[in-house]
């Protein structure tokens, strides 16, 4: 009887073990499956005749082989690796785009300046002028193309975020439901059902692929929360995430968590997983790169337009702008973003670029402390100080003023001076004759001069401000109407030589002295005349020239409006100098850099991020694979193990059968002997 029972208990145990081995083999390739082991215990012994006799075996448990510590490592490294990979996936295309010769800025910038060179060589050649115009178009189009790629990348990030957030919500819902099922199953059977536990672990791992979460186990339930403690799953309830344009920058989707009572923005605290990687990329690379490229475009447009405005075109008129006006009404209204919480009736801020060289690549947070007072904080954390609306103060090269209704204390704005510049730059000139290559003034010695004096081409002491509006027009007309100006030299005496300056009416407007035989830098101030020759009170302009050699007595030099200097290239040479002149980021004691250097710095910056991302991805990949292999080493199925177990349990089964057979034979022997 007992022997039969013992045999039966062994037979039962070995059957379950065989089934477990079979299950393990069948699930060798199931994701998240933890191999199972049977745990046996011996049955109670009976006291018989003073000795304890065993009564067979019982199956104590079918146990998951699982190590919570290793699993925790796997969860963390999954989140980090997915973060790094998502970042890398975004930064690699941008890196390629910027550094590729055919898609980057530097090659087209070089060809633009090459065509300026060609034009400087033959200023009157219309074909060269046209080529310059075409190259300018290519250049502005290339800026637009790069900017649009970045805008698309931003859109891509938005749509990925929406998809990923949807997946997060599914996973958190299923974890909550698994928590509930496991609690129910456990309460009836003690330890939880392995498949549900595995499924829940796998769900948490998948969740970590999307976003970094931490798990706290409480009474067999997993409570899931984000990095900062925002709860996603609590017992068998889950909070959903959603995307919304709640930030100050409406082009970016933000992430918020919705609890039944409220919802709050958690964009800044989400880290890890694909979502964390995307947000990190957007913050770290995309926005700075947009600002940086925008700054290069802005400085380029400003400097080239301004330089062209200093000269005279092929028609003998002051030059027109090649690129779109950086301070157009549309442009200045698009450089600030108003917070949605601002007071009713308040509008936007107008951001005018007053010194493009001083611009940085940062954004600025503007907070109003009163209706006309504000403080500014730069995105690198620097406090720029407190300012008044009027008179407008220049902050890092830009000025602020109101464009809508009055403001109130507490209104906030985000100022992005350079963000949109690369996408909005266009080549607006269509007539290549309007390119100004000639200098505005020309000095001519009288043919009757007897001395050896010579004047360098005169340049205006103060460059014309092309954004000057009516003032600019007055000055331009004034220069035209107030010239020619004559310098007449007197006799040299006592090592110096006096000269007198006369306006076009022959009226003396100034005197001075030079040292003959040396280079003498002169600044000549010219009171302005109107078109009829009458003086304009209080208005004047001045120009610089250098007198070398020794003029004779009564030698005359005329400084005239260069109306038909078709072959003069002095302004074109100035334009050319912009290729290597430090024009970008000349601020805060920095010497600044040229346009090409500025772009190559951007390439270097993005390249460094890409290289770092590559390193991060490799490193976190190694950590992940180690964590995986450690988990796998403990929990996953090894077929050789199972083969050995299979053999073992087969033999165990056979042996148990033999016990029954022995019991039967013992019984038969007893019967037959009767």
């Amino acid at each position: 009887m007992s022997l039969l029972n013992i045999g039966m208990s062994g037979l039962n145990a070995s059957q379950v073990s065989l089934a477990t081995v079979g299950n393990n083999i069948a699930n060798a390739n199931t994701a998240g499956y933890s191999r199972q082991q049977t745990i046996q215990g011996s049955n109670s012994s009976h006291l018989s005749g003073g000795v304890f006799i065993g009564s067979g075996t019982t199956l104590a448990d079918v146990r998951r082989v699982y190590n919570a510590y290793l699993d925790n490592q796997l969860q963390t490294s999954t989140s980090l690796n997915n973060d790094a990979n998502a970042y890398l996936d975004q930064v690699s295309p941008l890196d390629k785009l910027f550094s590729d010769k055919t898609t980057g800025i530097s090659a087209v910038l070089s060809s633009f300046f090459s065509s300026v060179q060609t034009s400087a060589g033959t200023p009157s050649d219309t074909a060269a002028r046209q080529l310059l115009l075409t190259n300018a178009q290519t250049l502005s189009n290339r800026f637009n193309a790069l900017a649009s790629q970045m805008t698309q990348q931003n859109e891509g990030i938005n749509s990925q975020l929406t998809t990923l957030i949807g997946q997060v919500n599914q996973l958190t819902a299923s974890i909550a439901s698994l928590n509930q099922q496991i609690a129910q199953a456990s309460s009836s059977s003690g330890s939880g059902p392995s498949n549900l536990l595995d499924a829940r672990n796998e769900a948490v791992r998948s969740l970590n692929e999307l976003v970094g979460v931490t798990v706290q186990e409480q009474n067999g339930s997993y409570n899931i929360s984000l990095g900062n403690g925002q709860s996603l799953v609590l017992g068998n309830t889950s909070n959903t995430l959603s995307t919304a344009r709640t930030g100050i920058d409406k082009s970016q989707l933000n992430i918020q968590v919705n609890s039944p009572s409220s919802s709050s923005d958690i964009t800044s605290v989400v880290s890890g997983g694909k979502i964390g990687g995307l947000l990190r990329y957007r913050e770290d690379v995309l926005v700075p790169a947009q600002n940086d490229l925008g700054r290069t475009a802005l400085v380029m447009a400003d400097k080239i337009n301004s330089q062209l405005g200093q000269g005279l075109d092929a028609n003998g008129e002051f030059g027109a702008s090649l690129f779109s006006n950086i301070n157009s009404a549309t442009a200045i209204s698009q450089r600030s973003l108003a917070s949605s919480n601002n007071s009713a009736g308040s509008g936007n801020l107008n951001v005018t670029i007053s010194n493009s060289s001083a611009l940085t690549t940062f954004d600025y947070a503007v907070t109003f402390t009163a209706a006309d007072k504000y403080t500014v904080k730069r995105s690198d954390g620097k406090d720029m100080g407190a300012f008044d609306l009027s008179p407008a103060a220049e902050i890092d090269g830009f000025k602020l003023d109101l464009n809508g209704g009055a403001l109130q204390a507490g209104d906030t704005f985000k100022v992005t001076p350079t963000r949109n510049a690369a996408s909005s730059i266009t080549t607006q000139m269509t007539d290549s004759n309007k390119l100004a290559f000639a200098g505005p003034l020309v000095a001519t010695g009288s043919t009757s001069n007897g001395g050896t004096g010579a004047l360098t081409p005169p340049v205006l002491s103060t460059p014309l401000d092309i954004y000057g509006g009516a003032d600019l027009a007055t000055l331009q007309a004034g220069i035209k109407d107030s010239t020619p100006v004559t310098l007449a030299f007197k006799e040299a005496a006592g090592g110096s030589q006096a000269y007198e300056v006369f306006n076009s009416k022959g009226q003396s407007i100034g005197t001075g002295t030079i040292v003959p035989g040396q280079s003498n830098d002169l600044t000549i101030n010219v009171p302005m005349l109107d078109a009829s020759g009458a003086p304009i009170p209080g208005k004047s302009f001045s120009f610089n020239t250098t007198v070398s050699g020794s003029p004779s007595k009564n030698d005359k030099y005329e400084v005239a409006f260069n109306v038909d200097g078709k072959k003069d290239n002095s302004n074109a040479n100035q334009l050319l100098a912009l290729q290597t002149k430090a024009t970008v980021g000349v601020t805060g004691g920095n010497a600044g850099m040229s346009l090409t250097t500025s772009y190559s710095r951007l390439v270097e910056h993005v390249g460094a991020k890409a290289s770092q991302a590559q390193g991060d991805s490799t490193a976190s990949g190694a950590i992940l694979s180690r964590a995986k292999s450690e988990v796998a080493s403990v929990s996953q199925v090894n077929l050789d193990d199972e083969a050995a177990d299979l053999l073992k349990f087969q033999q165990y089964y056979t042996a148990s059968s033999q016990i029954i057979k022995a019991a039967q034979e013992t019984f038969s022997t007893l019967i037959n002997s009767l």
Binding site: V442, S446, G533, G565, S570, S600, H605, G607, Q636, L646
Partner: protein, 529 residues
């Protein structure tokens, strides 16, 4: 360590992927020859490459610029060579015209040849380059540099602007020279005059040449300060000279006031950089008219000459479309200060609004030009910027007159040629006064043509110097370019040797791992059951 089956396969696949991607990357670097495929491969190197690329393109552009500088300077050089040849021929002709045996007819034929040379030089200076731009008018490439005025003089219409091209980051070289520097700045040797005091008849008994400039510096420094000088003959071998303040400066002149008209070189007065020649045509011992005896000393005595710089002259012309036939006949500076301050370099246009009122515009006058002065015709004359102009009558409304000024400090070769031609065309056989005038004109023409040639040679020398510096810069740019290439190659190009060794190594790793995988994957206990 326990290895699960799935883990083994997964790990093998991942490692195989890694090895394969690095071998593909090495292959890419070898086939493209480029080590830095994107900035992420080497951010600092990539930024350096961009800067080097810019430098390379600038060097390419500089070499284009040097090509066009060379081209345009060579063109200019060949034109100037033509000008120089013409001027030399003109000088030979001028010298031969001074030969005392030449008759009016001979001089006429020389004048004709000079006329051809004049036209030739004008057309050379008005040459255009391959793009159809005038070569010598500075930046006013669509304006011909020289035009001939009604009175036979020439005006330069260009400006002083040179076109500079960049040939290195720091050096720019002018591609052209202006007519101003080629011709206009040639110094005028015939800038002075000697005027006989009217107390004696101008019958050629005593004549003093207009003077030839020998030293520009002495003229500017000394002569101009003391003019006008009074040259007074004491007798047929002595004279005295006094400056404008009456100081006797005879001692400054070598010979100290003595001269000998019969001795070669004995009758030259070398005064403060200017040489005057004294010529005596004495009638002594008997006066041909009164038949009274006379001495050379008495004949020469008390001839007084005023020596000084020629005053500025004006060429005035009426516009052919004028309604009236009024001409400008006389002109002269009456107010030196107003003339210096107000008279434009390029000359003026006087436009009458009615018979008496006029406005003055600076040349060239355009539709939007503004008048620089206005006034009323009074007593048949007007004064514009210190210059008095005499009219022959009352002009009509809208009549225009163009007035240009010429000082005698410099003279262009064209004007020299034109003056010489006109002098030679004037008959002088048997006319003492005309002969003296001819001699003066020939002397100053020969000297001025020499000056003009010298000026052209100076410009040609400058062209040579510029071509030379282009050559030096070319070789410097070439070596910069070479070092740029090698730096770019060092930073950005694949080191093929290293890459090939890498490739071989990666290949053997990959092969080994393939082999190991195949062997190990076959091991399974199930096979043995």
């Amino acid at each position: 360590m326990r290895i699960s089956t799935a883990q083994y396969f997964e790990a093998s696949a991942a490692k195989y992927q890694n090895n394969f991607s690095s071998i593909v990357k090495t292959q890419e670097q070898i086939t493209s020859g480029v080590r830095i495929q994107s900035a992420g491969d080497d951010p600092v190197g990539a930024a350096q490459l961009l800067m080097l690329q810019q430098q390379k393109e600038m060097l390419g552009q500089y070499s284009n610029n040097m090509g066009s500088i060379k081209n345009s300077l060579m063109n200019e050089e060949s034109v100037l060579d033509g000008v120089n040849t013409a001027l030399q021929r003109a000088r030979e002709l001028a010298l031969s015209a001074g030969d005392g045996s030449k008759s009016d007819a001979d001089r006429q034929s020389i004048a004709e040849e000079l006329g051809e040379i004049e036209a030739n030089v004008l057309s050379l200076l008005n040459s255009k380059d391959s793009a159809g731009n005038y070569m010598f008018s500075g930046s006013k490439t669509s304006t011909p540099p020289y035009v001939r005025n009604n009175d036979g003089t020439y005006s330069y219409q260009g400006d002083d602007t040179q076109l500079n091209l960049q040939v290195s980051d720091t050096l720019s070289i002018a591609t052209n020279d202006t007519g101003k520097s080629v011709l206009e700045s040639a110094i005028n040797s015939g800038r002075t005059q000697a005027v006989l005091d009217p107390s004696k008849p101008n019958d050629g008994t005593v004549s003093v040449s207009a003077g030839l400039l020998k030293s520009s510096a002495a003229y500017t420094k000394d002569f101009a300060a003391g003019e006008p000088y009074e040259l007074k003959f004491v007798d047929s071998t002595h004279y005295t000279i006094a400056d404008k303040d009456g100081n006797d400066i005879t001692a400054e002149v070598s010979g100290n006031g003595t001269f000998d008209s019969k001795k070669e070189g004995g009758s030259t007065i070398s005064l403060r950089g200017i040489e005057f020649d004294i010529t005596l045509r004495l009638k002594a011992p008997v006066d041909p008219v009164t038949s009274l005896p006379m001495t050379p000393d008495a004949e020469v005595k008390d001839h007084i000459f005023s020596l000084g710089t020629k005053p500025d002259t004006f060429n005035a012309s009426r516009t052919p479309s004028n309604g009236s036939t009024v001409q400008i006949t006389g002109s002269g500076v009456t107010d030196q200060a107003a003339y210096v301050s107000g008279f434009p370099n390029s000359g003026v246009v006087i436009k009458f609004t009615d018979a008496t009122n006029y406005k003055v515009y600076a040349q060239p006058m355009g539709s939007d030009s503004k008048s620089i002065a206005d006034g009323v015709l009074a007593g048949g004359a007007i004064t514009v910027a210190g210059v008095k102009l005499d009219f022959t009558g009352a002009p009509g409304a809208d009549d225009q007159f163009v007035v240009g000024a010429s000082s005698h400090q410099t003279q262009s070769a064209l004007d020299t040629l034109s003056q010489l031609r006109q002098t030679l065309e004037t008959p002088s056989d048997g006319n003492d006064l005309a002969q003296i005038k001819l001699k003066d004109a020939l002397n100053s023409a020969v000297s001025n043509l020499a000056n003009a040639s010298e000026q052209v040679l100076t410009v040609r020398g400058a062209i040579g110097a510029r071509l030379n510096s282009v050559d030096i810069q070319t070789s410097e740019n070439i070596s910069l370019g070479l070092s740029n290439n090698s730096t770019q190659a060092a930073i950005g190009n694949t080191d093929v040797a290293t890459a090939s060794i890498d490739l071989a190594f990666q290949q053997s790793l990959l092969q080994a791992s393939q082999l190991a995988f195949v062997k190990i994957a076959q091991l399974s206990l199930f096979n043995k059951l």
